[in-house]
Symmetry: C2
Subunit: 467 residues, 2 copies
């Protein structure tokens, strides 16, 4: 967006959010919801209708706690903050972003106070992304990760900070990367008649409708793995969106269960499947055929090691499976402190750097590679970060269930048979929409409530195997 | 857009158009407008406020003639028709598009009947793009073009059909084309802080706000002229959008006068300025320095001839200044006939081809290069085409006034001094918004009402000079 467009865009977004809020909070909606108590609906119409009532009532209750003018103001402030964050990051100058972040923290505190919470303000914000989740339930899981991951990092990680293989002089032509990415996404079952794969500065997946799912990635000639795992990640999200029930479009039962569950789908494909040896038994020869020059001297063994290397790193989005959740934990702790005013915005960069040293043994050389690296706080996304870790935990747990359902999973991977995996995920998770909340859905699929154990066992096994 | 996205997008567009229509046709708007008669407002608040009342009342009256459900249905039908047109053009198969076009013609007839008209249905549709214009006023101007242009084409045009120079084996590297295009747009005064220049399959200019004007073009390595004149054209539109009065944003006085007046700005820059010898006395050395290989053996004289070549051509958007308006005339006549049911959709391809033979001496080899080439009918844009020719006529007339205002205009061009031209256009035209309707604004700027004479004299002089 051109710089001079910023002010008008902020006003446009504010207006749209206000109009949307006004319509949704129409008192008639409240009357209808009151006439339809969830338990009665469940008895007469079943679980799908009951879930629609439950989730609409939740959203309605939340929306009616906030005046439309507050919604507009929050949108406006975040629109400006986002632009300021882009500049601040470019200049590695936290002071440019700080006044915006102060305003956002104040508004998010106000939002939490208006919406209400049991234990702490964070609950009211987490609930947006992970309906029904409570900070007291997820905090111990995240803490248990710290206890078991920090020692692993200290034992196995080397001190370099770079993306997989971006430094060894190999050149992976971008056109061939695009071919391979499309081939892998198609093998995973992504329907290109109902979606696209394009390029953007920051990869994303946007699900407009089951018939219109847009994925993006970015290509770097020095590193084929970055784009490829990025595409597997976004395709994981995209399969969720394409797998929603089209008959339920526009209702909660036709939407994804939670942000964490969404992330579980991207991480399962990217990591549990995409970084596994059996997967590459099929795709490594294809990789070599696609990049005859760049792949020279690589064998399956060295490739699998390469894509599973554990490193201390400054940047979350480039982090490996072991260190990733430490990046999240740090943010989760800091944003709780900001919301409860145990930490002032002015002290945030120092607090960030101290935690980076404690968890990862690194200190960012500047704030662009530290506290300014993520977009989330600039759009007011407090409560978002833990869903990344929930996604990782859910993914490991779902992966165990997948292996139980397909005892020959490794053989399927060795033969590139991925569609059965997509269909199983679609059946068990995607089509269920918001019928169950994330912990209940996970229990339905895996037989157990959410836990960090399957993930930690998966990591420990992997680190040992590659030691 | 992916194919399976089509149905939902049609519904989304229909809903948005319906909601917008409902808000705008709120009876309270009618009461306010009735309480504010234009003449009284003019006396008390001046011409700007009066224009706002006049144009809002015009839009309101039109909108209240149409039920919201009709607006939604028209939007829905056009959304599907647009997708069908893309496929039909790809397959050169008019039959794929015909049923959609029949539906659109029926709805546009209904729209005209609901809105009302004096002489013919076309008036009611033309008015959307050229407020206040009447078919009986513009038809004679277009007819006079046919009389004087057809003989010129018969005398000077050769029979080939191709873009400028795309066939001579020269290669113009795309990266350098991009540089030159940005340089020319910047020289014209386009503010890149308040706009962008990107690539797209079909070039356009979208003015979201004076601070956010997006231009696109497409590059072809075989032909530098296509992208460059495309960019000058879109930049002409973009300067209009950037030149609107920001204080009047959201009101008619802060919007462009008419579609024809908008086109005059793009065509003036593209043709009267961009294809002139003095302009190239400055830019030809820059072109040669940018493309040392491709420009080998070209001199100023041959370049100016090359970019002013007159050819019979099948495709409107590739047509030169002489033949362009014959392409428009043909469409104008056909769409009037369709609306009055003097022509059936089934007979349209034959009618198109007959007129092509009569005006341009060519018969399209298939419908993709004939009746299916333009997007306009697929989005229901009946009444749009003549504004292209009005733009050409206005441009020539404004160009005469510009020369009168700057007797040393050729010298300014020889020195690349384009900003004074932008400022003059901004002052005389862009800042005036919709304060005056197009014919009155043209008279204010040029001292004369709209006429085809200045354009025909300009063409005749140019053809003679290059003979």
């Amino acid at each position: 967006m051109p710089p001079r467009a910023q002010a008008r865009r902020a006003e446009q977004l504010a207006l749209l959010s206000e109009l949307r809020h006004r319509r949704f909070t129409d008192p008639r909606m409240g009357e209808l919801l009151e006439a339809l108590p969830e338990p009665e609906v469940r008895e007469t119409l079943g679980e799908v209708a009951a879930a629609n009532v439950r989730e609409t009532a939740r959203s309605y209750r939340r929306a009616t706690c906030l005046p439309s003018s507050f919604v507009a103001e929050l949108t406006r402030v975040c629109a400006h903050a986002h632009e300021a964050w882009i500049e601040a990051r470019k200049n590695a100058d936290f002071a440019q972003f700080a006044p915006h972040l102060e305003r956002i923290v104040a508004l998010k505190r106000e939002e939490a106070d208006r919406v209400g919470f049991e234990d702490e303000r964070y609950d009211a914000l987490l609930d947006v992304y992970e309906p029904g989740a409570r900070t007291r339930e997820i905090a111990p899981m995240l803490a248990s990760l710290r206890e078991r991951l920090v020692p692993i990092v200290q034992r196995v990680a080397d001190g370099t900070e770079a993306q997989d293989g971006a430094e060894d002089g190999r050149r992976w032509p971008v056109e061939q990367q695009k071919q391979l990415c499309r081939r892998v996404a198609a093998a995973m079952g992504f329907d290109f008649e109902a979606g696209r794969l394009d390029e953007s500065a920051h990869p994303f997946c946007s699900g407009i409708d089951v018939g219109d799912v847009r994925l993006t990635t970015r290509y770097d000639e020095r590193d084929a793995a970055g784009a490829l795992f990025g595409v597997m990640h976004e395709t994981g999200h995209g399969l969720y969106e394409q797998g929603l029930d089209p008959e339920r479009f526009g209702t909660p039962a036709g939407e994804a269960c939670s942000t964490g569950m969404h992330e579980s789908q991207s991480r399962l494909w990217e990591n549990q499947i995409g970084r596994s040896r059996p997967f590459w038994e099929h795709f490594f020869p294809i990789l070599c055929a696609t990049f005859p020059q760049a792949s020279e001297g690589l064998d399956l063994e060295s490739w699998v090691r390469r894509i599973n290397r554990v490193r201390r790193s400054l940047i979350r989005v480039e982090a490996d499976e072991v260190t990733y959740n430490l990046h999240i934990l740090l943010r989760f702790e800091l944003e709780r402190d900001l919301l409860e005013q145990r930490l002032a915005v002015a002290d945030l960069p120092a607090a960030w750097n101290a935690k980076m040293e404690a968890y990862l043994g690194l200190t960012p050389p500047d704030d662009a590679q530290g506290v300014l690296q993520d977009i989330h706080w600039s759009f007011g996304g407090f409560g978002y970060f833990p869903t990344y870790t929930l996604g990782n935990l859910y993914a490991a747990q779902i992966h165990d269930a997948l292996r139980a359902a397909f005892p020959d999973l490794d053989d399927m991977l060795r033969h590139g048979r991925l569609l059965e995996i997509r269909d199983w995920l679609r059946d068990k998770i995607h089509r269920r929409g918001m019928v169950l909340r994330a912990p209940a859905l996970l229990e339905e699929v895996t037989g157990a409530p959410p836990s960090a154990e399957p993930f930690l066992r998966y990591i420990e096994r992997k680190v040992e195997a590659l030691a």
